[in-house]
Amino acid sequence: MTAMLEPISELKLEGITKRFPGVLACDGISLQVRQGEVLALVGENGAGKTTLMNIIMGLYRPDSGTISVNGEPVHFRTPRDAYARGIGMVHQHFMLVPNMTVAENLALGLKQLHHFMWLDIKGAAQKIRDVSERYELPVNPDAYIWQLSVGEQQRVELVKTLCLGARLLILDEPTSALTPQETDDLIERLQRMASELAIIFISHKLNEVKALSDRVSILRHGAVVFHGQTANHEPSELAALMTGHDVTLPRNEGGGPPGEPLLSVKNLRVRGDRGNLALDGLDLELRAGEILGVAGVSGNGQREFADALAGLRPVESGEILLEGRNLANRSPRAIIDAGMGYVPEDRQTEGIVPSFSVKDNLILKDFASRQFSWLSFLRRKEIDRNAEQLKERFDIRCPSTHTATGALSGGNIQKVILAREIARGPKALVAVYPTRGIDMGAQEFIHSQLLDRRREGVGIVLISEELEEVMNLSDRIAVIYKGRILKILPAVEATRERLGILMAGLADPDPPAASVHPSAGAAHE
């Protein structure tokens, strides 16, 4: 061990520049954060936030610029060096080994517990208890990571980072997988901890930035475009600075007569991967020209519901009626041909073939149609024409339609999928987390596309955990909890609080007098 270093009280970055082949990821960035302060670092995907943090942690080396701790320049080669100076990071994707316990995960990083042929696991557990008591972050050191909820894992990450001696915490989009309640809870805890720590909070959710941070720095295309006190600026102002133009996410203004019933799901029961009944009697009705939001904490049957609708998972019992035809347990091909469009949850592996070109991904569902094939030969010219046309219409930003789709950004991959699904003219469209991890520009485009389809009379099932998105786009919102629809309410009656409480499985706090709500009472305790 090196001599004890004084605890970190200030971190300063000056002129940090990092180039990757063909990309300038960080362009002369200067930042500063002190003890007792929360700095929010805001920017769209690809703005260079994570690269910058990886440079601070010693995972990447900057091409130029200096990092100094307490006024003294430092050169970190590995995360261990950063931890030695009291800098720790909670990554967006949790850095926890799922088949090990909480204590074992901590022990990985605590070299003083590593003895020859013996691991002091009790020492690790004790350290976790001390820290979790001190910062009021309850954690059970003997639990296996895979048994914990996402919120609990988040707490484990915080405790782990503090146990490793971090006094400056870097939190990379810490709320992206949390429920609204868990998010509020986390923000409250961080506020309490902020007095004795320094925190860099990375996010693009501006209401959280507003709630937590003292100062905000905005990154765009690798450069800092704004520094300021959070209190003096409105979220809309920050959003405009972040994207470089005014952003107004489109809203569903209602209107239009309610359409004919289009899709009705009756008493659907579907098993999950572990053999449990992930959907246990789900009922839902969708009308033409309607967006029906399905809100819920992920893991309450959304995946299984979407899979069943697309024909990717066997249906135990129940019906999926599209215009009166039962599609339950039909093949994906039959369901596609019946007029069902599908924007899957995992766009990289289910939505596209990553190594295929953009133009080939655009005909993935229609390669055998008359339009694109002749005597089982592909009609290349027609495929090219189709691709160019869709690229234009859906604003797909790619070097050419021959580019491998997997090389595009998340937003552009999603546009490819949406283009394919919409161009087929579906009657019903199932969109699962359509803007997860996508920047605001692309989000705006995808939202307006969905609203346009609604106006054209397409019925859309929008499965999402982003309350903002569900509330902006839906006509009605169904809350899914433990494989059932707990309640359906008109979007105009929904508030963040009300949805949050329903998503947690609790009874509606403010039930409108006339409506009935099945099974809510049972879920209360």
Binding site: T78, L96, V97, A107, L164
Partner: protein
């Protein structure tokens, strides 16, 4: 024939049969726990068998003759570790596909050992090998004594390695690192663990144990060397790791089950039971396939990054 005698015969034959696959599978388990599956295990066993045979054979007449067997075992361990190192270089440093590299290593070990044997030795030649060492008192227990305590020293070592590898994996810092780099290498990296170094170490240990398994075959079981001595046992060892769900105890169970089936089919031939022996020979292998197919999949416990090279600069 008396059924008790029949059972005794089957079991006392099954225990020595299980030693080589047990040793190799325990070693392969370290590889897989660290996220690398080494199909070349079989080739390493061939080289281990050859080196284990060659050293005592060539030292037979010299002053080192009394240490021939010991040197043979040490040589087999070293040769195995060296081939493990080679495999680590190819799959960890150069990030080659593990499946293909493993097949290559298998062919290398098999071909090289056979060629060297023909060049230096030629025909079938025996060595004295390592003799059985009955454990005093214990070996005289009726029934169990003959089944469990009347074997060569390497057999005892193999069975002691079952709790030893459990301890190493679950109770030591090194085991913790191995399990971490096989399941979530990036997490290990952010905690200051060198993923590459840990995988190198695991592959060398696994290689050394495969080498020892080979030496057991040539020095204790056959007391000779030939091309087909290993006869695919390395592949059985790889299957046993899956079979045992990456737990040393599970691997022991699998190794015993396979060996009992093996010894049962041999005994059937000895007893003269009218059954086509071609099918009898298939029995243990069919058993492994059936059990593998029917076994409950416990995904939470295994090394989920098995087979994937780690690259820090690669994004999600």
């Amino acid at each position: 024939m008396n059924p008790e005698v029949m059972i005794y015969n089957v079991l006392s034959l099954a225990v020595p049969f299980s030693v080589a696959i047990l040793l190799a599978a325990l070693g392969e388990n370290f590889n897989q726990r660290a996220g690398v599956f080494n199909l070349g295990c079989d080739g390493i066993m061939c080289m281990g068998a050859f080196v284990g045979f060659m050293l005592p054979y060539s030292l037979k007449a010299g002053p080192l003759a009394p240490y021939g067997n010991l040197l043979g075992v040490m040589g087999a361990l070293a040769a195995g570790a060296l081939l493990g190192l080679l495999f680590a270089l190819v799959t960890v440093t150069f990030r080659a596909s593990q499946g293909i590299a493993g097949i290559g290593l298998q062919m290398l070990g098999w071909g090289l050992s056979g060629t060297l044997f023909r060049h230096f030795v030629g025909g079938v030649t025996g060595v004295e090998g390592i003799l059985a060492m009955p454990i005093p008192y214990l070996s005289r227990i009726p029934f169990l004594g003959g089944v469990l305590f009347n074997h060569t020293p390497l057999a005892y070592v193999a069975f002691l390695l079952v709790p030893a590898s459990w301890f190493l994996l679950y109770k030591t810092p090194w085991g913790l690192k191995v399990r971490a780099v096989g399941t979530h290498p990036r997490a290990a990296d952010t905690m200051g663990i060198s993923v590459d170094r840990t995988r190198y170490q695991a592959l060398m240990l696994g290689g050394a144990m495969a080498g020892l398994a080979g030496a057991y075959l040539s020095l204790c079981q056959a007391r000779m060397f030939s091309d087909d001595l290993v006869a695919g046992r390395g592949f059985i060892a790889v299957a046993l790791v899956y079979f045992g769900r990456w737990s040393p105890l599970g691997i022991l169970g699998g190794a015993l089950l396979f060996s009992i089936a093996q010894s049962f089919q041999l005994s059937m031939q000895v007893w003269g039971i009218k059954f086509p022996y071609e099918f009898a020979v298939m029995l243990p292998y069919v058993l492994v396939i059936v059990v593998l197919a029917l076994a409950r999949k416990a995904r939470q416990l295994g090394p989920t990054e098995l087979g994937k090279p780690y690259n820090r600069e690669m994004r999600f």
